[in-house]
Subunit: 360 residues, 2 copies
């Protein structure tokens, strides 16, 4: 038996308004006046001076606004890396991702690809990255994905949707300022929060579970229940707690794995471009047989917050298209193994997946 | 408002038997064949080949056995550092602490003092360390202190008992192998476990509490209740869960503080050499007025495990001796402030502390 030696984010700052300390954090990390900090920022903040005016720019530092309307893609990473190299006198001092899971994953991938040759798609998989990434900072502006603590950056490539999982992927620094999440639209808040909730359910019911993951998973699950089913929290408290739930939910899956919802949601996302949070919700809603308690609670949360999920996504798909989704889902072996054990193939057949997808 | 940018242990491995992976972990960290790894090991393991035969020794690597019968002292650190420098051809590749809080704190302090001039006592306080410590690894063999995650190493010096609190203090690597805790004597298991429990109570009831600390504190507290008041865990489960409780309890106080029990226990320890775990228990047993719920539960745990605490420690002390204890306790301003707020001096007078100590 060999256990994973898990890399943790080595620096974390937590607190309402801690974003104001970004300059203090970055200044000692500047390599030279020619080595800029590159801020990758969700373009919803483009004309939001409340946030952008506090991004500390000096010398050749630059903000690049990026739309999170689509899931991050390998060729998007390659283009960003090329743009950064062409426009910087020296290799950057650091990459700072400001946004949700999409922006955080892009920041992680770009920081890896600035020091590793070739294209991003070559590194999709487990432990394929050779060189240390450049210094990278994650600043979530929406809570739930756990991207701020994970050792993956999930990318859609020409062949598949799969993470770059490596010891060099985690951020060197995370800033947890819940105030940055105050204007998240309600639907998005719910979908992304449910990503965290689903992480917990998949981790806690998985066969890979150990006492490490269990304690983090339980903590995140309790926080999710308090946030999504309770009535006692102020907005600020709920924002702070969801930020911690995302963190702990992310920690829970690093030592275990996600499961059925994530595997199937990757299929949806690959073929239809469905965003990760809502995709997980659409899938999870139909997984009673795998996660009976978890799905029951999920439906209660959905009702309480008056969320209606899109229906009929797969109604008009051809068999060929369904096959593509099924291929993507089936390729995620560790997720199935975690969910259902070594003999998962007995339960999960192409026919089974097809019938599940056709309900969605 | 400025928030602490907290350094986390950047690498952690968790699992029963993960101690066997020590060689894989250390090998890439060896600086040269003349730069040894120094293993500081609790001397209870001296003739325990089950453990010692698995310590991977190469080249000039060395085991130094250290008694944990007394709390670590600043001059003990200075002597160890001198011994290591005199007996090593080059600065060591790393220091590996194997033991309880005492050994872990010694390993942290030695690794700091190998790269910082002067004596250990000069660094007792907050953020006085100038140079990065050498690579250091913590391997707990008893659970509860949280020393494996904290940014302090608590030392008794000529002037005071106080930690070297710095960003360079935390371990670079922690190995969490609960199997190493299987032979801890019952009393010691209880006292050290209660250190964790008391961390949670002091953190959760403290004025410094935030959502970060609260989530870790709640998680550790739930685990403590399950371990010390429940009846459903196997020995292995209880050992694994207590290891995680210690970790989370330690994480909880990094962003808040400990409180009354720790402040007063430092006084006992300074004057009488009372070990930290039992000292905390002796003090906490008399703190109903500060932590009514916490003390009630503590007494239940004590009864359930048939623990009888020493009594009358302070009965024969002179006023001068009591004054020394009171001075040490009162000097720990952040602890009092966390426990009772900015106006703590209104409640905590010398007379009040004297009467409390005299009950112990």
């Amino acid at each position: 038996m060999s256990y994973k030696n898990f890399p943790m984010v080595p620096r974390v700052i937590f607190g309402r308004g801690s974003f104001n300390q970004l300059s203090d954090i970055l200044t000692p990390k500047r390599l030279s006046i020619n080595a800029p900090f590159i801020f990758l920022v969700d373009d919803v903040f483009k004309s939001n001076s409340w946030l952008t005016s506090r991004i500390p720019l000096s010398y050749d530092d630059k903000i690049i606004y990026i739309s999170a309307a689509e899931e991050p893609k390998t060729d998007q990473i390659d283009m960003l890396v090329e743009e950064i190299i062409l426009n910087s006198k020296e290799r950057p001092s650091g990459i700072i991702g400001i946004g949700g899971g999409t922006l955080l994953d892009i920041a992680k991938a770009v920081s890896i690809m600035l020091t590793n040759e070739g294209n991003a798609e070559e590194y999709q998989g487990w432990d394929l990255v050779k060189n240390e990434a450049i210094y990278h900072v994650g600043i979530p502006t929406i809570s739930g994905t756990g991207a701020e603590v994970s050792r993956t950056t999930v990318l859609t490539g020409p062949e598949r949707k799969l993470g770059i999982n490596s010891d060099f992927t985690p951020f060197d620094q995370v800033v947890l300022d819940s105030e940055l999440t105050k204007d998240v639209p309600k639907d998005q808040w719910f979908y992304t929060g449910m990503d965290c909730y689903i992480h917990c359910v998949e981790s806690l019911q998985g066969t890979y579970l150990n006492a490490f993951s269990e304690s983090y998973g339980n903590m995140a699950l309790e926080l999710c229940k308090e946030i999504f089913l309770g009535n006692e929290l102020t907005n600020t408290q709920a924002q702070e707690k969801l930020m911690m739930a995302s963190w702990h939910g992310g920690m829970s899956i690093v030592y275990s794995q996600v499961g059925v919802a994530h595997a199937m949601s990757y299929g949806l996302s690959y073929l239809l471009g469905t965003k990760h949070g809502i995709g997980n919700c659409i899938v999870f809603d139909h997984l009673e047989e795998f996660y009976p308690e978890g799905v029951k609670l999920f439906k209660e949360m959905k009702t309480k917050h008056d969320i209606s999920l899109p229906k009929g996504l797969c109604t008009d798909l051809t068999d060929k298209e369904l096959d593509i989704m099924i291929d993507v889902a089936l390729s995620l072996v560790p997720l199935w193994e975690n969910a259902l054990g070594k003999n998962w193939k007995k339960t999960i057949t192409r026919k089974k997946l097809k019938s599940l997808y056709q309900k969605m």
